[in-house]
Symmetry: C2
Subunit: 341 residues, 2 copies
DNA sequence: TTGAAAGCGCTAACAG
DNA sequence: CTGTTAGCGCTTTCAA
């Protein structure tokens, strides 16, 4: 494909490059006649502007970077999908990179993106990231950035988060509403804010319902795995009498809970209600199907892009940049592992 | 960030832009002294070359496009991951786009990528794509493209495929080896080559073992869904006596099979063996766990990029372009839904 | 060993 | 209404 350039079109039509350029962009100061002539030739020649030249002039690439902790992951896949869709609605393309929950990777991937002159970055902090110099550096350099899902309060930029606290609060409230009184909680590792918030929501709901919080009913799953759920369930049953609900901070772990309970001959939900979190696909095919919390990843992705897009526009218009923090609401998906109200 | 350019560095050091450029790239005709001086300043100023200018000169973006039928999908996520990893090993970044299994989307997304001047494209054909003009156009235009997973024989370019025929053949052979004699097959829709190949592999293995092929034992799942598996199992049991194995062309459907068999009180694998295909995560948490075929998505992604990269190099070196067709081997994952040999 | 100059393809201010 | 010109930041040839 001997590439078509404005120059080529100009020379064929015996016009100047500038005129051709303007004609193609419908500048008002070009006659209709030339416009149609130029456009006709351009489209028949299958002209596409050279994006490098455009970017070089306009100082924008119409490409954004997306750094995701783990690509092979249902929730994050949905986020990727939402970001790509929302971006493409505005004519943006997205370069995706994976941080592998590693601080080093996170820094390196950010650099790669910066070197490619992306217009902005969408980032979910890795679990291991504890200092935010690299992020603050970006912000100081004027690179628009929005944090999604795993964020930090000590970084000043736009953010999109799931309302984990509220979600866990509602779940616990809901379990209590179905008559549960002794609710165990399987929480995640101590670090990420999300698992902290879910734990706090659980605790708060107990308190508001005058159920004394018992720390012995809280178990930690470090691996977020099916087996953790399985093993912890054995412990729960061993340690306590009359537990009537287990609220797991993620579906996969809850799936392990379900299996272990079935093996132990404990009826779900009659004897023990089981609640997951995330609404992964697999929660629809366990037996019984798993009640859970829908985390709208797709919507989160869309929203994250939108916030970035807003900042991009503010910059373009020379307006002051307004950071925005958006909480995405979750909703309880009631299936067969919990009692009806 | 008042961006640092070669010009700026040059003026600070009172050198010419050309010298600075060459010093940074270790040209042999620059003195060590200036080189170190230039490099020191550049790194202290945090200089990163403007990628647009570079691309404009070098006519390459070091970005490739990846068109994926469905982003939220375990197998495809793995492919994305493999592509991104392999690309980043060679300093390439990847823009991901989704075709939604739509012919129109496929064409549009390709255009977006072309407009961004990506160096090459990785594409899995949508199920609805029946004519290949747009692809052949690309190839004629000299855009390197490699097809992965869902390919077409009528397009002449590099390709990476799963050996579906061989995989299904091996599965069937394996089932026969465990003593199964009346093996039902749940196949996918008529169109995509993958489901055809799996069906053909099944058939061939029966023939080679002198088991007469019976078309009544072949069922079609149109939705690739859990419920299809569930419902078809009812039919299978209803239609036939003594079926001793059900080989489903995908895990999700097999999961439905397992549930229905359990409900019917049919022991797996004692009475009926169940075999899936794809080794999705969910096959590890069914009960019993599901024997299946591992489709190495990650490896496929890596390989697809590698083929593209090879072509890119051939072009750069002015060599003739060699198309390569690679078949990725699968392996049987033996779990508890089939009898041991 | 260094630098001047041309040019990649496009845009936009300005002149005619 | 059209064209000239300068310049975005970089690379590379050729001259000094």
């Amino acid at each position: 494909m001997s590439t078509i350039t404005l120059k080529k079109i100009a020379s064929i039509l015996e016009l100047s490059i500038a005129t051709v350029s303007k004609a193609l962009k419908d500048y008002p100061d070009i006659s209709e006649k030339t416009k149609t002539k130029v456009k006709a030739l351009a489209s028949s020649l299958n002209y596409t502007p050279n994006s490098f030249a455009q970017s070089l002039r306009n100082k924008e690439s119409k490409i954004i970077g997306l750094i995701i902790p783990t690509i092979v992951h249902h929730f994050f896949s949905n986020i990727i999908n939402g970001v790509i869709d929302a971006a493409s609605d505005q004519g943006y393309l997205v370069i995706t990179l994976q941080s592998n929950e590693s601080y080093e990777d996170e820094k390196n991937k950010i650099n790669l993106l910066i070197e490619k002159n992306v217009d902005g970055i969408l980032l979910s902090l890795s679990d291991k990231t504890v200092n935010y110099k690299h992020i603050n550096q970006l912000i100081d350099d004027g690179v628009p950035i929005v944090l999604y899902d795993k964020i930090s309060k000590s970084v000043s930029c736009s953010k999109v988060i799931i309302d984990d606290f509220g979600a866990a609060f509602n779940v616990t409230q809901y379990l209590i509403g179905t008559g549960c009184k002794k609710i165990a909680h399987i929480r995640g590792p101590l670090r990420p804010q999300t698992t902290i918030d879910r734990f706090m929501g659980y605790k708060k709901a107990l308190e508001e319902n005058n159920i004394p919080f018992d720390n012995d009913l809280v178990y930690i799953s470090d691996n977020l795995s099916f087996h953790d759920g399985y093993n912890i369930t054995s412990q729960v049953i061993n340690d306590h009498d009359k537990v009537d609900a287990i609220f797991s901070f993620t579906d996969l772990v809850a799936t392990g809970v379900l299996l272990r309970l079935k093996e132990l001959g404990i009826a779900v939900p009659e004897q023990i209600s089981v609640m997951g979190f995330s609404n992964w696909f697999l929660s629809t095919i366990t037996s019984p199907t798993l009640s859970t919390v829908d985390q709208p990843g797709y919507e989160m992705g869309r929203k994250a892009f939108t916030l970035l897009y807003n900042e991009l526009n503010q910059i373009r218009n020379g307006e002051p940049i307004k950071h925005e923090i958006v909480e995405i609401a979750t909703k309880i998906i009631q299936r067969n592992s919990t009692k009806k109200i």
